[in-house]
């Protein structure tokens, strides 16, 4: 019984981690779906999102300790950060990727790595390299039920992630812009001939992906804290999650994120190996999945991709 609760606890922690990975993985997968290119600067967008959120939140809060205002400031800060990152994402696309759209496929990849370094080193230079706390906008006392503990910030993480994913899915499936995105990912030249403004679709994709990264970054900073290199490892893992789920596939990114989070939390104790090797398990799983199913779990070539 005790062991059961212990593993349920790992599972729960894994889902929270996974929800964050999933949000970030969406950005990788959407951009890949449309441009067939891995935006390696995506992880650093989440770091910028976390800093923007933190500074906005602290500025709005000031000296106030009013519980309602704390929560309101937090959501305003999240919104500000999403808008800021969306604009930043579109801007980066315009100056660093768009001019290279018809170049060798490796060129935009290198450009993305360059942007990644500029962002993370720039943040280290501007904000310093020490970790900062993101203060909880509510009382974070854990809720313990039958030995199983969950904190309000974990609940927030899961709820916000689910809302974001539902909104994104209905946006892609129900709106004209979503339809244009799906069309562009299927066949870019034909979509252009049918009168779809491909440049706008691409800009929109970067905006949405970056806004989701901002949310992921803010949620991640409760568990990981805010620091200049926070995007590197988290971004890499989200990328892995996107590949596990089937890159280019939105549901795949969500599934991959959750699977990776759970693997990280449960893997080491389940196999009885030292926890220091938890990342090894995650990446070993990636290799196995790719060997068995190179397109990822939900990756099918005929499936609609965004």
């Amino acid at each position: 019984m005790n062991t059961l609760i212990q593993y349920l606890q790992y599972f729960l922690n894994g889902i929270t981690l996974g929800a964050i990975y999933a949000l970030i993985a969406l950005g990788y997968t959407m951009v890949y779906g449309i441009l067939k290119f891995i935006n390696f600067a995506h992880g650093d967008i989440l770091m910028i999102g976390a800093y923007t959120g933190l500074f906005t939140y602290l500025a709005l809060l000031g000296e106030s300790t009013n519980a309602a205002w704390m929560l309101i400031s937090f959501f305003i800060a999240m919104l500000v950060s999403m808008v800021f990152c969306a604009v930043l994402g579109m801007f980066i696309e315009k100056i660093a990727y768009k001019p290279l759209r018809n170049a060798n496929r490796l060129a935009p990849l290198l450009s993305a790595i360059g942007v990644s370094f500029i962002l993370s080193n720039g943040a280290a230079w501007m904000f310093g390299t020490q970790s900062r706390r993101f203060p909880y906008p509510f009382d974070d006392t854990p809720i313990v039920i039958a030995g199983l503990s969950i904190t309000p910030h974990q609940i927030l993480t899961i709820v916000v992630s689910i809302i974001m994913m539902i909104v994104l899915t209905s946006f892609v499936n129900k709106t004209r812009m979503g339809k244009a995105m799906r069309a562009t990912s299927l066949d870019q030249p034909t979509s252009e001939l049918m009168g779809i403004d491909v440049n706008r679709v691409i800009s929109m994709t970067f905006a949405i992906g970056s806004a989701l990264a901002a949310v992921g970054g803010i949620l991640a900073s409760f568990d990981f804290r805010v620091y200049a290199s926070m995007g590197t490892m988290t971004g890499l893992k989200a990328f892995v999650a996107a590949v596990i789920g089937g890159i280019g596939n939105i549901q795949g990114a969500m599934l991959g994120g959750i699977i990776l989070g759970i693997l990280e939390s449960v893997g080491a104790p389940l196999l009885g190996i030292p926890s220091a090797l938890r990342d090894t398990i995650a990446f070993a799983t990636l290799i196995i999945i790719l060997l068995v199913k190179p397109d990822g779990i939900l990756g099918k070539n005929e499936r609609e991709k965004v």
Binding site: L17, R133, D223, F224, R225, Y227, M233, S275, A276, R278
Partner: protein, 396 residues
């Protein structure tokens, strides 16, 4: 065209090297002391405080007239806490800057690597903070003003077992030389005393999620958890343990003495007991140093390693003074460095901020250990302890 370019290049190099050669033959007007430590990155707090303390000491020494009429100069190199950067920092300091001695490296892994080079090249190195027992294993040229891990873990295990009365404890440590050295040292001593280590959990440096390890530890039901890590890891561990509803006492090491921990996890530090540097009784040098440091660096408080770094600088000052008294000549840097080594080794009852400092034959500091009990966010000094005949003894 190519030929002209080549000739121009050769001429340029020739002229340049004449200038460079000419510059180095001039008698240096300052005594250069190198510093290696992390000045950027997640652990920059340690390196910045240590270099600040050394710089403070040097400014004081210079204001008092320097050594033998020469001013001291601190050249601080950023290792970012990594071995390869520490080695390139060392090479710059030893070969290009021609420093007379080096303070640092701050972290154990870089210190192990640089110690080997100092031993081969004959450069004195005094680390204010590298605690792994092997740092001084080479026996010469390498000193430290921080007690060795073997001493710290021995006192820690005895204190946990004999004074606190724990019989079952668990460890959660990062896979680096510092944390692993302490955890394994405590494991050895604690088990030899008859105690049980219920679980040895590991993590990587830079990990942020420790909930799985804490869950594993909770399942083994220990009386306390020993976390000999650096600030960022310890802060996360304390907070996540509280989030998991764990109500178990935490024990830590001198890494906990950095006040940054209270910024990152101030709500969770109450009740943590850690073994760190012993405090000298009513040392006015320490009080003066803390006040001077705080004034020089915008009210920031020095950690224990910074205090060690301050002492190391004055030990070097005394050694350099004696070198010049014995007719040391900077023109032959190798011979000069050798006499610095002799004089540092000859340090006898040096009176520093940390009390009386002597070096053992291998370069280790002879010292007792301090125990601290954190109340809220204030570490309260319990006392100084030594292990004598396999029993813990309070020294003061």
């Amino acid at each position: 065209m190519k030929k002209i370019l080549a000739i121009a290049l050769v001429a340029f190099i020739a002229v340049f090297s004449v200038f460079a050669g000419g510059a180095s033959e001039e008698a240096p007007s300052t005594l250069k002391i190198g510093f290696i430590g992390p000045l950027t990155g997640d652990n920059a707090n340690y390196g910045i405080r240590c270099s600040n303390a050394a710089r403070l000491a040097i400014n004081e020494i210079n204001a008092a007239g320097g050594v033998n009429g020469m001013q001291l100069e601190l050249i601080a190199e950023d290792s970012q806490g990594s071995v390869d950067r520490a080695i390139s920092s060392y090479e710059k300091l030893a070969y290009t800057d021609n420093v007379v001695a080096i303070i640092g490296p701050v972290f154990t892994s870089p210190a192990l690597a640089v110690a080997q080079r100092c031993f081969e090249d004959g450069v004195v190195m005094i680390s204010p903070s590298a605690t792994h027992k092997d740092v001084t294993a080479l026996g010469d040229w390498v000193y430290r003003t921080v007690p060795s891990d073997s001493l710290q873990s021995e006192v820690a295990a005895h204190y946990f077992y004999e004074v606190l009365g724990y019989r079952n404890i668990a460890c959660l440590y990062a896979m680096n030389d510092y944390s692993q050295g302490l955890a394994e040292g405590v494991e050895d001593t604690f088990t030899s005393l008859g105690g049980t280590i219920t679980s040895m959990q590991t993590c990587m440096v830079g990990d942020r999620d420790f909930r799985t390890q804490l869950g594993e530890i909770r399942a083994t039901n220990p009386e306390a958890i020993y976390i000999p890590n650096y600030t960022v890891e310890d802060a996360q561990i304390l907070e996540q343990a509280s989030q998991l509803g764990m109500n178990i006492p935490f024990l830590s090491s001198d890494g906990f003495s950095d006040p940054e921990i209270y910024n990152l996890a101030g709500d969770f530090t109450d009740g943590v007991i850690y073994v760190g540097p012993a405090q000298a009784e009513a040392s006015t040098i320490l009080v003066d140093f803390q006040a001077a440091y705080s004034e020089a660096y915008n009210g920031d408080a020095p950690d224990s390693f910074a205090t060690n770094s301050y002492d190391a600088t004055y030990i070097l000052r005394d050694a350099l003074t004696r070198v010049f008294e014995n007719g040391g000549d900077l023109a032959d840097i190798d011979a000069f460095r050798a006499s610095v080594n002799d004089e540092v080794k000859a340090t006898d009852d040096f009176e520093g901020a940390n009390g009386i400092i002597n070096f053992a034959a291998n370069g280790d500091m002879v010292a007792s250990q301090g125990v601290y009990d954190v109340e809220g966010t204030t570490p309260v000094y319990v006392g100084s302890f030594q292990v004598v005949d396999n029993h813990i003894v309070q020294v003061d």
